[in-house]
């Protein structure tokens, strides 16, 4: 049973046990976020490239077929609520809850990532492809050396804002009963009834993580930008 409330409403957050408890939840948040980022990025690259291939090689029935599949996936999934997908995975698969959250987030976010990837690939001018072909480069060489470097650089801002969205959306996992940072906060709040303090701390944590991510992205953009200029 709860002991009587500590003297100061902020003090309860900073006892070692409560900090450890919040840190534990934050660890779960990070695992979900990093897992969903890795999987959805990889899946987004596959899907986005597949859809792009249909535009790039309209004469190939294989490319068109693959693109059509990817298009159906993207258009269906991105128009569904993410929580619905997460709950579906939780209920329809026997995988552990945290993996259900990661998978559900990835299924949804892959569709968003795919469009970012496709946009990046489309941003590389048609002439680059033709020039590469005229130099006798293979498709893979063209992608690796000509198309992907500028395409990826243009994707960075959108990818990072999607990574930030993923981090924030990990809070949906608490709706699935997974005790991430918000869940740990809700549990503490129920003990000490100090909603303002708990949620303010959680807000600061999310803000810090997301802000650092956008700073890192800006630095990355600058560095790769300069790299291009000096080449």
């Amino acid at each position: 049973m709860p002991e009587s409330a500590p003297f100061h409403p902020w003090a309860v957050l900073f006892t070692p046990e409560n900090l450890r408890f919040l840190a534990w939840g934050f660890g779960v948040t990070l695992r979900i976020a990093l897992g969903a980022m890795a999987i959805s990025f990889a899946a987004g690259v596959v899907l986005g490239t597949a859809r792009f291939a249909g535009d790039r090689f309209p004469e190939s029935p294989l490319a068109r077929g693959v693109a059509a599949l990817a298009t159906v996936y993207i258009e269906v999934i991105r128009n569904l609520p993410m929580l619905l997908i997460m709950l579906a995975v939780r209920f329809l698969t026997p995988i552990p809850a945290i993996w259900a959250a990661i998978t559900g987030m990835s299924i949804f976010t892959a569709a968003i990532m795919a469009e970012i990837v496709r946009g990046g690939l489309m941003s590389v001018e048609q002439g680059q492809w033709e020039a590469a072909a005229s130099q006798g480069l293979s498709l893979w060489q063209t992608l690796r050396w000509i198309v992907l470097p500028p395409a990826l650089r243009r994707m960075v801002p959108a990818l990072v804002s999607e990574f930030i969205t993923i981090t924030k959306d990990t809070t949906f996992a608490w709706s699935l009963g997974i005790q991430e940072l918000l869940g740990s906060g809700v549990i503490l709040f129920n003990r000490y009834l100090n909603a303002m303090q708990v949620f303010a701390l959680i807000a600061v944590v999310f803000f810090t993580v997301d802000f650092l991510m956008s700073l890192a992205a800006r630095a990355l953009e600058r560095r790769t930008g300069e790299g291009l200029a000096t080449q």
Partner: protein
Amino acid sequence: MHLETGFLSGRKRALAAVAALTLGLALALGGCGGGGGAAGTAANGGSSTPNIDAIKSRGVLRVGVKADVLGFGYKNPQTNQYEGYEIDIAHELAKRLLGDPNKVELTTVTAKTRQGLLDSGQVDMVIATFTITPERQKVIDFSPVYYTDGIQLLVKRDSGIKSLKDLNGKVIAVAQGADTGQKLQEKAKELGVTIQTAEYASYAEDMAALQNGRAQAFATDGSILKYYENQDPSTVILPDRYSEEPYGIAIKKGNKDLLDFVTKAIDDMKQSGELQQLIRKWKLSGSV
């Protein structure tokens, strides 16, 4: 840099992507069957639900519990372990079924997931402050009542208020959207007194209203009041109860052998006084 070179290498990533894509497509194509409702439940009732043999061969009882309800199902921040009245019941059921109270796998459920996890067979039962209602009984089987909560009143200790009768002409703070106010008004009418109710958006605001004198009482389920009483030693819960909220263990519809087992276990625990003992252990205000 990393993005450019790491891109498309990594066999694991590619595999994960394919897995996610396949699963996603499968979900998109086949995931719309959730709306089958009663007809669907009735059609597959019983045949594929985990029964007692399945639990025994698995060697662990899977129970959905709450993580944020103090005294019932709560993750203790000190230990990161579940504790509470409902957790003790889960351990007791594991002991009776598998001979070991620790052969229980606890999963946090929320209002959003408790029924879905039950229906999909991810948990064998849900012990999570689930109130038995006629509507729910149509889609879920319930054990006998293992705890009865009810509306009670929290008042200032020095106010001299002893029951609803003493609140004649006074204001009672209640939660928005709950039927607490209505039930209290009916009781007040029977007692021949006039009360006023004020609705607040959260329990914390109800509590604040009581503390700063905008209301002379705060009314909701006794087990919720308990924690506010603990927070503020100048308040006290009055003993009278003004409604009944029976909690039951939820089991997937048609899982008859498991329901029979749980029914017998709860009846036993009631008879032997074990439940009453646990209620005292967790200092709960309700009764069996």
